[in-house]
């Protein structure tokens, strides 16, 4: 992957951990729906053949030296994209839940509105996508929490199918939540008075592997994210440390 020269250069990043079974299809679908756009798989220290399979499928791979968690993994992609001069980055999960056919709609919305972030949302329109009962309850809860903070409703705050422009990329390169980043990232943007929009997307069940958020971890997830949201609201930006995890 060469440094971006075009003023509308797009990079698709795919955070992946042990996604050997799904990553080839994910990369292939991205290449089919947005031909010519570089695909960067960020491997969070997988124990299986994710790296080799992703490379064989035509993706560039950024292999992390050790496991950083989803936020650290995504931020590594944002940092590289920012350094290479990309204007837009769209994140697609490595488990195959996101339909690459929706990437052009996210990019189009980023360009046409000039907003800093576009979220691919399952719930902005009814399209048959579901999130499961426990996750659905969590999403409803965080919708209520985020509504007054963001000043507008967000229908799918836990969606990882997200596009950002270069202004958001710069912020996320410096400050990004390390664990469960989707919801906190919205608050990080809100602190900068950045705007976000949602576009309807369809999500599918995972192609392979298992979600890292099990039923047992759901409560921890809620407490962790809730704390992260309020810490981000209260955060003092006076002297940021290099590499600060947001």
């Amino acid at each position: 992957m060469k440094p971006a020269s075009a003023t509308d250069a797009l990079l698709v990043i795919v955070p992946a951990l042990n996604e050997e079974g799904a990553i080839a299809e994910v990369v292939s679908q991205i290449r089919r729906h947005v031909p010519g756009v570089p695909v960067l798989v960020i491997d969070d220290c997988s124990a299986d053949g994710t790296i080799a399979v992703a490379r064989a499928a035509g993706a560039d791979v950024l292999p992390l030296a050790h496991h950083l968690g989803l936020g650290g993994c995504v931020q590594a992609g944002y940092k590289l994209a920012f350094e290479l001069g990309f204007q837009y980055v769209i994140r697609v999960d490595g488990d195959g839940q996101h339909d690459a056919a929706d990437i052009p709609a996210i990019l189009e919305r980023l360009k046409s509105t000039g907003c800093e972030m576009v979220i691919g949302s399952r719930f902005v329109e009814k399209n048959g996508s579901s999130a499961g009962m426990v996750r659905g309850l969590g999403i409803r809860f965080f919708r209520m929490v985020l509504r007054p903070i963001l000043g507008k409703p967000v229908h799918d705050p836990t969606s990882g199918f997200v596009g950002v422009n270069r202004r958001a990329l710069e912020v996320f390169s410096r400050s990004f939540p390390l664990e469960y980043p989707e919801i906190e990232a919205l608050v990080v943007l809100q602190r900068r008075r950045f705007r976000f929009e949602e576009v309807p997307v369809k999500m599918r069940p995972r192609m392979a592997g298992r979600s890292s958020i099990t039923a047992g971890k759901s409560l921890y997830y809620i407490v962790h994210v809730l704390l992260g949201v309020f810490v981000n609201i209260l955060k003092y930006d006076g002297r940021p440390r290099p590499g600060s995890g947001g």
Binding site: G72, R241, P242
Partner: protein, 115 residues
């Protein structure tokens, strides 16, 4: 009360010895040993000076001298644990930033090699 002070004295000496040995064997860095050394010396001095402990008890209004010792020790260690949480958070951030930087540099080296 006296037996409690004796136990505290012994524990303080043991802690002091442990920290010094650990520093000597490079198991703990000098900058991180200072807090432990200060805590151990403070506990040692307090356990050896009953009049000071009694004065603090009267001054703070704590009903019992052993409780004063317990509260002071608890406070010292809580502050230390908090300090180590701050240090750990810094280290975690630095560690993440370094891992990301290494990955990016490796990526660029690989790209150059392929060209």
């Amino acid at each position: 009360m006296d037996s409690l002070l004796h136990v505290t004295t012994v524990l303080s000496v043991v802690l002091l010895a442990m920290v010094l040995i650990s520093v000597r064997r490079a198991h703990i860095r000098v900058e991180y040993s200072v807090s432990w050394l200060l805590a151990a010396v403070a506990m040692l001095l307090l356990s050896l000076s009953r009049p000071v402990l009694d004065a603090i008890t009267r001054w703070t209004g704590v009903p019992d001298t052993p409780l004063t010792l317990f509260l002071m020790a608890g406070t010292v260690f809580l502050v230390m644990f908090f300090r180590f949480s701050v240090i750990l958070s810094h280290l975690r951030d630095d560690n993440v930033a370094l891992a990301q930087r290494v990955a990016m540099l490796e990526y660029r080296v690989r790209s150059f090699e392929q060209e």
